[in-house]
């Protein structure tokens, strides 16, 4: 037997724990009454703690991984960034005062915001380079873009207030039914594929 396989009793213990936890949480979901609630409360609190531990372990694993290859620039940058974040976060005030706030306000926030701010530029560049009005889909795309842009421009909406109503109508009468259809279709598709898979394996 390979040494990577845990002992039998550990495997049985983990299965028993998973069944107990899942059963209690599922029961509580449908019947949030006295005894079930009493049982679910410590289970859920433990899950929150465990999730925190998982995050810590993931961070430790990341540091160990990049620590082994610290000569590479990207790994060195990761280690410096992680050390800086951890150090300033542990100082009194955390990220809400002092050096932690400075790191957050002048490094983290502008860096992250810059990432998202690039997205419209990429989209506009793609639109400029790839838009071809000889396809119906391209026309619908461009028309939808212009309509939503108009409906969110303050000067346009102030001049023509019906544009605000148009935005609401587009969301309520067009976008919501389509998304609801997608959600329902997705659920039915998952169920169908599951049943088909099960049938295929048993047969």
């Amino acid at each position: 037997m390979s040494s990577a396989v845990p002992p039998l009793f550990l495997r049985r213990l983990s299965v028993a724990l998973a069944v107990w936890t899942g059963g209690v949480v599922l029961l509580h979901y449908f019947w949030p009454i006295g005894p079930v609630r009493e049982a679910a409360q410590p289970v859920l609190r433990t899950v929150v703690l465990l999730s925190g531990m998982v995050l810590v372990l993931a961070a430790v694993r990341g540091v160990m991984h990049h620590g082994r290859r610290w000569r590479r620039p990207e790994s060195a940058a990761f280690l410096v960034g992680a050390g800086l974040s951890l150090g300033t976060g542990l100082l009194p005030g955390g990220y809400e005062a002092g050096p932690g706030w400075w790191v957050y306000a002048w490094l983290l926030r502008p860096g992250w915001a810059a990432l998202l701010a690039l997205v419209p530029l990429f989209l506009l560049a793609a639109l400029y380079r790839r838009l071809r009005m000889d396809e119906p889909a391209a026309f619908l795309f461009a028309a939808g873009l212009v309509l939503m842009l108009w409906a969110q421009t303050p000067a346009m909406v102030a001049t023509w207030p019906w544009l605000a109503g148009l935005r609401h109508s587009l969301l309520s009468w067009l976008v919501a039914p389509v998304l609801r259809g997608v959600l329902i279709g997705l659920s039915l598709g998952v169920v169908w594929r599951l049943l088909a898979q099960r049938g295929g394996h048993s047969g």
Partner: protein, 349 residues
């Protein structure tokens, strides 16, 4: 020893690739929900170690596996191209309409024009907050990152101003690690400092997503350690459920977290849920707003502006109207340029 099911060669127990033919020895059984393309991420077979260089059989096995898992190419090119007629018939009028509208707007717009009527979601959120008594507890969920802070803070601040004017007890919580910093930044960005007596109680970051929300629903005061002062201000018993709150407001830039709030809290508890979402997320949440699980859904900059107009207190959103106009017109100019470029382009083959 285990034998390869392809070539029959004997391999060590812990081997993952056949030493003879290089194929994968142990293929895990298909798991629930695996292999549904586009719905869930693929579950790759993790191989220990790397492929040794120069072993052609292993590389061939890898190439075969990748080719087998790739979707087949489309059998025919995309149909339905309208050609020059569509370009001239639809594209040209579109450019003309956009240009005329832009010119008319620029000519007719004045800064003293009254704002547009608010959407029903904005009015509903305003009235829900306006009727809160001063003893009410309001849970604020900060589920966005610095990436979307520019948009989300604009939306959060009018709501915070309104809540502070009602003198209710505010409680911060977040499913995102940087959520507490987002909350602090939103409060710090208000024009007037928050009085100490109204400082929010911080439950901090809750890891565990859906399970964390269930724990929060069971006993909000029990999920995070609180200082005695915060405990006094919150005035909640350790095992009191989330129904002790009068209102929940989630600031969200992610569909998944809002869906968790709806599934774990709003669908099962009688506490009304307001979601203030980024413009990109709000359309995906509209079905939940239509079913009433989200009582009021606010979306992006336009709703921030509308809320400030309802409050009657001009804030950051009002101050940035000119900047918003300028950026939107710039984007419109690029769209017009793309349309004109498209009209001059040869039809696609």
């Amino acid at each position: 020893m285990s034998s390869c099911r392809y070539c029959g060669a004997e391999n060590a127990d812990d081997a993952t690739l056949c030493a003879q033919c290089g194929r994968v020895l142990t293929v895990p059984p298909p798991q629930v929900l695996a292999q549904i393309q586009g719905v869930l991420p693929a579950e790759p077979v993790i191989l220990s170690g790397r492929l040794p260089p120069g072993d052609e059989a292993l590389w061939q096995a890898l190439v075969t596996a990748v080719a087998a898992s790739s979707p087949p190419p489309p059998s025919s090119p995309s149909p339905a191209t309208g050609g020059p007629a569509m370009r001239i018939g639809l594209g040209l009028p579109m450019v003309v309409v956009i240009l005329i509208t832009a010119v008319l707007t620029a000519a007719g717009w004045r800064s003293d024009l009254s704002p547009a009527p608010p959407r029903p979601g904005v009015a509903a959120a305003y009235h829900l907050i306006a009727v809160l008594p001063s003893t009410a507890r309001v849970l604020l969920a900060w589920d966005y990152d610095p990436t979307t802070q520019g948009e989300m803070q604009l939306l959060a601040q009018p709501l915070l101003r309104h809540l502070l004017s009602r003198r209710v007890v505010l409680v911060n919580v977040s499913l995102r690690p940087l959520g507490p910093a987002m909350a602090a930044a939103a409060f710090a960005g208000l024009e007037t400092a928050v009085p100490l007596a109204q400082a929010p109680v911080d439950l901090g970051f809750l890891p565990g997503e859906s399970a964390a929300l269930q724990a929060l629903a069971l006993a909000p005061a029990g999920v995070a350690p609180l200082s005695p002062a915060a405990r006094d201000r919150l005035a909640l018993a350790g095992d009191e459920p989330i129904t002790a709150f009068d209102l929940i407001i989630e600031f969200s830039a992610e569909t998944a977290t809002s869906r968790q709030w709806v599934e774990q809290i709003a669908a099962r508890q009688p506490v009304p849920l307001i979601v203030a979402a980024s413009g990109a997320v709000a359309p995906a949440l509209e079905p939940y707003a239509q079913t009433g699980q989200i009582v009021a859904l606010l979306s992006g900059y336009p709703d921030a502006l509308a809320y400030e107009a309802l409050l009657g207190i001009p804030g950051t959103a009002t101050e940035r109207q000119m900047a918003q106009n300028a950026v939107h017109l710039l984007v419109l100019a690029v769209v017009i340029a793309a349309l004109i470029r498209s009209l001059r382009r040869r039809p696609s083959p």
